[in-house]
């Protein structure tokens, strides 16, 4: 039987990041991917921008990324161009809320920076009790975050403690008027989330997005380049990446994971198994009999309802958006006319209906318009409904780019259900598990399993459902690898 130190199930970017980190430490790692290619949700068909990748990770990967502006489209043609904290009308005119927006953005980025420290290591936990050695270490680590807060100064620290648990709708509208600018910011807070901007906790998810300063990047070529870079990194570290190899189950003996069995019955042995899937799928792979009722119930109850659909339009020519310069056509284009409209777009999804006016994030590429449409229901999809969503999105784009519809030569609609089927992401959810306050940090993905470990020895989670969460960051994978090494299971 083939033997490795570690088997990683799933070659999404987090699985690859975990593999690369372990490979770099001299471990023999095998990555098994069910589908024919690597990348998972970072694949070019699904993803089109990089939001949250740290400077250091970008350098490590050696990928070439170029920063893009955001243009929030307005029906009256007063589009707003946004780059980081600066906002102006797309035609160059000054935006009345520019100063207030800059201050709000700077503050949120500053706060996000404090929280970002927490993302780069396993979440705080007190499994050994507050007075154990591990507990004291935890206190010391939290103390550092506390110190970071103190450094903000008393007034800012108070503001942090107020807004961190607040909702994006009020936090944004307390500072700026409602319109495309507020719409773009609140849409960022809830894109991919099963929440509208009025939901408490959406400032936290906005801060998560802003953890690396809130800059938005396009990959040279397509997002496939980022996935390929992760794969390259893993290969360079000596990892064996096998695609088209579905894992049937995780083999467990004496409450320890000892390897996997592939579909077809071939077994591969390892001392540790890392899974990019969600906790429930992973438990099912290992056999739910190995877990206590409470843990299984929690895994089943984990909130992961995908709300973002991906719509790819193949184009015969370049569409022209009214009121945008040539360069602005290369920006991230957002349709989110107001914070109120973003909230309204979520209402129908709650009842399994399509939005009346979807919120869109679009990127114009060579021969393609790539669109993320929110909020959509996560289940109940039929071909007719897919077509209806495609038509609705095309109609929405047409309103800003007259003539768009006549350029469309093909429409691909990927619903949350499709995304779940393609990638295995629970519920087709952007973050694999809702980034609600009840499912972040020590509670991510489920209470009692926050440290990447599951109850079966040597079995770990390394996907976006684990701390700190989704976006192409590589952090869940790298943190999981760190935890495996720290636990000494190898």
């Amino acid at each position: 039987m083939e033997t490795f130190d570690v088997i990683v199930i799933g070659a999404g970017h987090n699985g690859l990041a975990a593999a690369a980190a372990l490979g770099a430490r001299g471990k023999r790692v095998c990555v098994l991917e069910r589908s024919a290619g690597v990348g998972g949700m970072a694949d070019g068909r699904l993803a089109h921008l990089v939001y949250n990748l740290s400077e250091a990770e970008r350098r490590r990967l050696g990928v070439h990324l170029s920063e893009v502006d955001t243009v929030s489209l307005a029906r009256d043609g007063r589009h707003v161009a946004i780059r980081g904290g600066s906002a102006a009308y797309a035609d160059g005119g000054a935006h009345p809320d520019a100063a207030a927006y800059a201050a709000l953005h700077a503050r949120l980025v500053r706060f996000a920076g404090v929280l970002a420290h927490l993302a780069e290591a396993p979440p705080p936990g007190f499994e050994g009790g507050l007075t154990s050695l591990e507990g004291l270490r935890e206190i010391a680590r939290l103390g550092k975050v506390g110190l970071g807060l103190k450094r903000l100064g008393k007034a800012e620290m108070r503001e942090f403690l107020r807004v961190v648990l607040s909702n994006a709708f009020d936090t944004v509208l307390d500072e700026i008027g409602d319109g495309p600018l507020a719409g773009a910011l609140t849409a960022d807070a809830v894109r991919g989330a099963w929440a509208g901007p009025r939901s408490p906790g959406t400032v936290f998810s906005l801060m998560y997005r802003l953890g690396q300063g809130g800059r938005v990047f396009r990959a040279e070529g397509s997002m496939g380049a980022v996935a390929a870079a992760y794969a390259e990194k893993a290969r360079a570290a000596g990892c064996d990446i096998r695609v088209g190899v579905p894992v049937a189950r995780v083999v467990v003996e004496d409450d320890r994971a000892v390897g996997v069995e592939l579909e077809g019955g071939v077994r591969i042995a390892a001392q540790a198994v890392l899974s990019s899937a969600g906790p429930l799928q992973t438990m099912l792979l290992a056999g739910v009999a190995h877990f206590d009722v409470e843990a299984a119930r929690r895994a089943r109850g984990m909130r992961a309802k995908g709300s973002a659909a991906k719509v790819n339009f193949a184009l015969s020519g370049r569409p022209l958006f009214t009121g945008l310069s040539e360069a602005q056509h290369g920006a991230r284009l957002v349709v989110a006319p107001s914070a109120a409209a973003v909230e309204q777009s979520f209402n129908p999804a709650k009842y399994g209906e399509l939005p009346k006016a979807p919120v869109l994030e679009m990127v114009l590429e060579d021969g393609r318009l790539s669109v993320i449409a929110t909020h959509v229901p996560y289940e109940g999809w039929t071909d007719a409904r897919r077509a209806a969503l495609g038509a609705l999105v095309a109609e929405t784009v047409e309103a800003y780019a007259p003539g768009f519809a006549s350029l469309v030569t093909g429409t691909e609609v990927l619903t949350p259900a499709d995304i779940a089927a393609m990638t295995g992401a629970p519920g087709g959810h952007w973050h694999h598990a809702e980034m609600g306050l009840d499912q972040v940090l020590t509670l991510r993905p489920i209470a009692g399993n926050a440290r990447y470990r599951l109850a079966v020895g040597g079995l770990y989670l390394c996907g976006a459902s684990a701390h700190p969460g989704g976006d192409v960051t590589g952090l869940p994978g790298r943190n999981a690898a760190g935890q495996v090494l720290a636990d000494g299971v190898l």
């Binding site: 936990g125 007190f126 499994e127 050994g128 009790g129 507050l130 008393k154 007034a155 620290m157 108070r158 503001e159 403690l161 107020r162 807004v163 648990l165 607040s166 909702n167 009020d170 307390d174 929440a195 009025r198 939901s199 408490p200 906790g201 119930r297 109850g301 909130r303 909230e343 209402n347 709650k350 009842y351 609600g436 306050l437 009840d438 020590t442 509670l443 209470a447 009692g448 926050a450």
Partner: protein, 542 residues
């Protein structure tokens, strides 16, 4: 009494919190004056007779949260306060069935099993968690909220108390507690139950009085605001104050009078008098002026500082905090005089649960849609209501054989939408009547003959509640109970200890920690804070 007297302390507003604070201060030997704009005391805890023979609890209508420590301290039963527990409740479906809630555990299990056998054990898990959370939170209600940015011994001490309690839970329970505090009531119930009807019955407590939906994070915590009370030590039980909720205010008023305090009704505070950063007294809207070194406002924080205090006395960041403090009207109320007990055809003859809280919302989706209506400035097309007929238990509320019914309605916006414009002024008689008809339609789901039983009905929109009681937007909690407005953030970060930037001026209403409900905790906590500071000052002077 002359119109320019001096006192040791003046309380603006004779709501239950103002009266509670006044009682504690008077019992500590201070000469206390309470001024009230209405001709009666009680604020939102009142019993009024608007129709000959009937007594309405016009605003708040049931009692449980009133802290028993306060009842004991002030000896309120001696002043006539009697709380009679009621048992059970029910949610009626459109199809002529119901889910009944019994306080008898076995009866409840049988009723749950009738709807969904899988939910029987789930209920035990649910109530274990809720009771545990109640036990955890109760000790904090009568303490100050610690300021995590402060290094003062007192704040550190409070913080230590919190950490100790949290540590006592153990790692597992601590995680469970953090989760519970940040969850939505909808997710919490979905995790436990299968039956939509049972979920809907239990969800109401998470949204009453709030501007949140059943799927808004934080509503599981709001649920606690409805479970953490007790009647005679039975945690989570609710009761009627005999004679209506005004009985609480009357007992507090009598307690205050006996302790030498003075209550003056019929003229409210026009403005708080401030000089050199210190409060001097109050000027009433009838021209009277009273002086005191301590002035406490029972009004909500917006009303107190944005309408009755000159802005120039307040720091800019504090004002900013007050301005963005969210007080959103979301509830309406119907008080109804009935010529006979309405019939509930679905319920068995003499069913005990009819004496409890009755509802007709049958799924979480229906409740969430009700919330969506409110967000757009409409009242819910299918409103949630919490309906009780207290005269079944307390015969003093209506003439013999007749009944009084109280219907709390969620959601009704304050700023009603009309042709694209939202404004409180859109609440005219036509709108008020249309709202009532909508509620009656929904009540007919439970009691089809309700309309023929009505002899008088008082309809109170958020605007009516604001105008009469003085609660901004008619919000029953004097401010949303969301994370960003609880504990050390309530009402303004850095000012959670009842004191304000104006020296000698305090907040005693439920804009302050721990928030709303007829709990009296903000009043008692504020009085303690006032006395502590007074004692310090006296010590310094000596």
């Amino acid at each position: 009494m002359a119109t320019h007297d001096s006192f040791d302390a003046i309380i603006a507003g004779a709501g239950h919190n103002g009266l509670t604070a006044a009682c504690y201060l008077a019992r500590a030997g201070l000469r206390v004056l309470v001024v009230e704009k209405n001709d009666w005391i009680g604020g939102a805890a009142v019993s009024r007779s608007l129709y000959e023979g009937w007594t309405y609890s016009n605003c708040s209508y049931v009692c449980s949260l009133l802290r028993r420590e306060i009842v004991r301290d002030l000896d309120l039963p001696r002043f006539g306060l009697q709380v009679i527990p009621y048992e059970g409740g029910a949610t009626f479906t459109k199809g002529g069935d119901y889910f009944a809630y019994y306080s008898d555990h076995d009866a409840l299990r049988r009723e749950i099993a009738r709807h969904e056998p899988r939910d029987v054990d789930a209920y035990d898990r649910f109530s274990r968690t809720v009771i545990r959370q109640c036990r955890f939170i109760r000790p904090f209600l009568l303490r100050n909220a610690p300021d995590p940015t402060s290094l003062k011994a007192r704040d550190l001490q409070e913080l230590l108390f919190l950490v100790k309690r949290a540590h006592g839970l153990g790692a597992r329970e601590l995680a469970e507690t953090m989760r519970f505090w940040t969850m939505s009531i909808g997710d919490f119930l979905d995790e436990h139950f299968h039956s939509p009807l049972i979920k809907a019955h239990l969800a109401g407590s998470g949204i009453i009085g709030t501007g949140l939906g059943v799927y808004s994070p934080g509503t599981a915590y709001v649920l606690l605001h409805h479970y953490m009370g007790d009647v005679d030590g039975a945690i989570g039980a609710w009761g009627f104050a005999r004679g209506g909720m005004g009985a609480i205010s009357k007992a507090l008023g009598d307690c205050l009078t006996e302790a030498g305090g003075v209550i003056r009704t019929g003229a409210g505070v026009d403005r708080f008098l401030v000089k050199d950063g210190r409060v001097k007294g109050v000027a009433l809207d009838n021209g009277d002026v009273f002086f005191a070194p301590v002035v406490a406002s029972n009004m909500d924080v917006k009303r107190t500082f944005l309408e009755h205090t000159d802005r120039k006395h307040l720091p800019e960041d504090f004002l900013r905090g007050v301005e963005r403090f969210k007080i959103r009207g979301s509830s309406a109320k119907l008080n109804i005089a009935l010529d006979a007990m309405p019939s509930f055809p679905a319920a068995p003859e003499g069913a005990p649960f009819l004496k409890g809280d009755l509802h007709a919302s049958t799924s979480l989706e229906e409740l969430e849609r009700a919330y969506d209506d409110w967000k757009e400035g409409r009242w819910s097309r299918e409103p949630y209501f919490d309906m009780l007929i207290p005269s079944q238990i307390d015969p003093t509320m209506a003439p013999p054989g007749k009944h009084m019914m109280t219907v709390f309605v969620q959601y009704a916006p304050y700023d009603l939408e009309k042709s694209g414009v939202r404004s409180g002024s859109h609440w005219d008689d036509a709108a008020r009547t249309a709202l009532a008809e909508c509620v009656f339609d929904k009540i007919e789901q439970a009691a089809p003959d309700i309309r023929s039983r009505v002899v008088h009905a008082e309809i109170r929109t958020p605007l009516d509640i604001e105008r009469e009681v003085g609660l901004t937007e008619g919000n029953i909690f004097q401010g949303e109970l969301t994370f960003d407005q609880l504990l050390f953030n309530r009402p303004v970060p850095g000012w959670a200890n009842y004191a304000t930037p104006v020296e000698g001026m305090f907040l005693v209403g439920s804009s302050a920690h721990p928030g709303g409900g007829v709990m009296a905790a903000p009043g008692a906590n504020a009085a303690r804070e006032i006395l502590r500071r007074g004692a310090k000052r006296a010590a310094r002077a000596a």
